[in-house]
């Protein structure tokens, strides 16, 4: 059995006027956290959509868990889960109903039990029977990720999971992602926040103008720059650190 969860070679995609992907290559190792970094409009979401079978590519190859996304999309869908850029939750249903719905669609044996376990794991038990429209942004994202974990997919895609979240919500999501990876799930993550990639990812790839311009571990990427020069700079706390210190939920590092 091969070791790669995702293999992408020479991936090309154009929209009517826009050549978004101009030959993208990368691989993602099983069980790792891979962060795709890029500015808005760089094509991160396009890559996610191709890998999750939502969009057809124009050239090159992409395989997920050994299955070609173009010729065997059904097999790809069996082993992945997508948490898109906009929380894919049903606002009118309750948190529990959302999870049960996904469990039923995945034809699991005991949807209710699956839902209870995930609600518990994501700290949503108290809110389980409330409509999702009453949830905060962070809770919604947690539910969104919980829904992606129904049926224990081997690979989960998180497309900008923390965009639009407050700092607390972001830290909640980071914790979740780390736990996922510790449990052996492969995580493919896109983000425009450099800090997020630094915090979470085993490997980071930078997508710029349709190509991957850098790909490596954080240490490797750091080596691309001239050696660090020692300078003494007074360390001012960032506003985020102040905010988190005041509300007493400082992130554990």
């Amino acid at each position: 059995m091969q070791n790669q969860a995702i293999q992408v070679k020479g991936l090309q995609k154009s929209y009517t006027k826009l050549h978004v992907l101009k030959g993208v290559d990368f691989e993602v190792e099983k069980g790792s956290i891979f962060a795709l970094l890029g500015s808005n409009g760089a094509g991160k979401t396009t890559i996610v959509k191709i890998l999750t079978t939502l969009l057809k590519h124009d050239g090159g190859t992409a395989a997920v868990n050994g299955f070609d996304v173009a010729s065997r999309p059904d097999h790809v869908r069996q082993s992945i889960s997508l948490t898109g850029q906009f929380a894919a939750v049903d606002e009118i249903l309750t948190g529990r109903e959302n999870l049960i719905m996904i469990a039923k669609l995945r034809h699991l044996n005991n949807p209710r039990q699956v839902a209870d376990d995930l609600l518990n794991r994501f700290g949503l038990t108290d809110a389980a029977d409330r409509r999702v429209s009453t949830y905060s942004g962070g809770m919604r994202r947690r539910l969104d990720i919980a829904m992606s974990l129904v049926g224990k997919p081997q690979l989960i895609f998180l497309d900008e999971p923390t965009t639009g979240l407050d700092p607390e919500g972001r830290i909640e999501v980071w914790k979740t992602v780390k736990e996922l990876a510790n449990g052996g799930t492969t995580v493919f993550l896109t983000t425009q926040y450099l800090e997020e990639a630094e915090q979470l990812a085993d490997r980071i790839a930078i997508l710029h103008e349709g190509k991957i311009i850098a790909n490596g571990t954080l240490a490797e990427l750091k080596k691309l720059f001239p050696p660090a020069k020692v300078e003494y700079v007074e360390k001012q706390p960032t506003l985020e650190e102040i905010f988190l210190a005041i509300i007493g939920k400082k992130e554990e590092k």
Binding site: L54, H75, R77, A87, I102, K104, L105, R106, F157
Partner: protein, 255 residues
């Protein structure tokens, strides 16, 4: 190579359950859909009705089929709306990246439209009964009426699906239903076509609503149905097939 098992009917069942919950949790959709036709029925029966010569002694009996069609035409606007909202939010992407039957989410909306319109139709018929609607129709005739209404609902629902799938704004998703709601007014739904000027009359007598209304009216009053029922069925099935093809094309383009 093992093949991936598909569970079209159970997936569709889950989708149906989902959107039926939406309907029961926002009762305003059912209320809005039923209240306008009921208000119209009250208005026509108690205000205009006295001046309208239909050749029948009971105007409610004459009016009801057209009112039901108006209710269905406004009901399907919500189907377009719900579809549009699903496309906008991430939930359709989640469904489509899951190993489920590709068209299950769409069929879930179509079935929901059928069920929710059936509920509105029943509510309106109950109100009509209070207002003095009486029918001599037997079980078979009622079944035929139900069948025509179901086909009419399906035909319009697939049109709604095209709108919901290809609209670029919420308003656009609902706007297509206005002409459909208006169509019964230029038909024999409210007044006999004989009183209309010749051009309008020609349109009225040859558009789908008139044959559907006439067929339902004849069935409910226990009179011979004649050709109307076949013309009505042909319209419904024809519109349904064409709209289905276009809706499916729009759906495949989006997923």
């Amino acid at each position: 190579m093992e093949t991936v098992k598909k569970h079209f009917f159970s997936d569709m069942g889950v989708m149906l359950g989902r959107s039926m919950r939406h309907i029961f949790r926002s009762m305003d959709t059912i209320i809005t859909v039923t209240i306008t036709p009921i208000a119209m029925m009250l208005l026509f029966v108690y205000v205009f009705g006295g001046a309208i010569q239909t050749g029948t002694d009971n105007y409610v009996n004459y009016l009801l089929p057209g009112i039901l069609l108006i209710a269905i035409a406004s009901g399907i606007a919500y189907t377009a709306y719900r579809l549009f909202m699903d496309m906008q939010r991430g939930i359709f992407e989640r469904f489509h990246s899951m190993p489920i039957a590709r068209s299950a989410p769409l069929w879930g909306h179509v079935l929901t439209s059928l069920v929710s319109n059936a509920i509105s139709v029943v509510v309106i018929i109950l109100v009509a009964l209070i207002m003095g609607f009486r029918s001599s129709a037997g079980v078979l005739s009622w079944l035929a009426v139900a069948g025509i209404l179901a086909l009419f609902t399906l035909a319009l629902t697939w049109i709604a699906a095209i709108a919901g799938l290809s609209a670029t704004s919420v308003d656009g998703a609902g706007a297509f239903s206005y002409p459909l709601i208006f169509l019964p007014f230029i038909s024999s739904a409210f007044v006999p076509t004989e009183s209309m000027p010749s051009v309008v009359r020609a349109f009225a007598e040859n558009q789908p609503v008139t044959s559907i209304v006439e067929a339902i009216r004849a069935l409910l009053s226990g009179q011979p149905v004649g050709n109307d029922i076949w013309i009505a069925l042909a319209w419904c099935v024809g519109i349904m097939l064409v709209a289905y093809v276009f809706a499916m094309r729009a759906y495949k383009k989006r997923v």
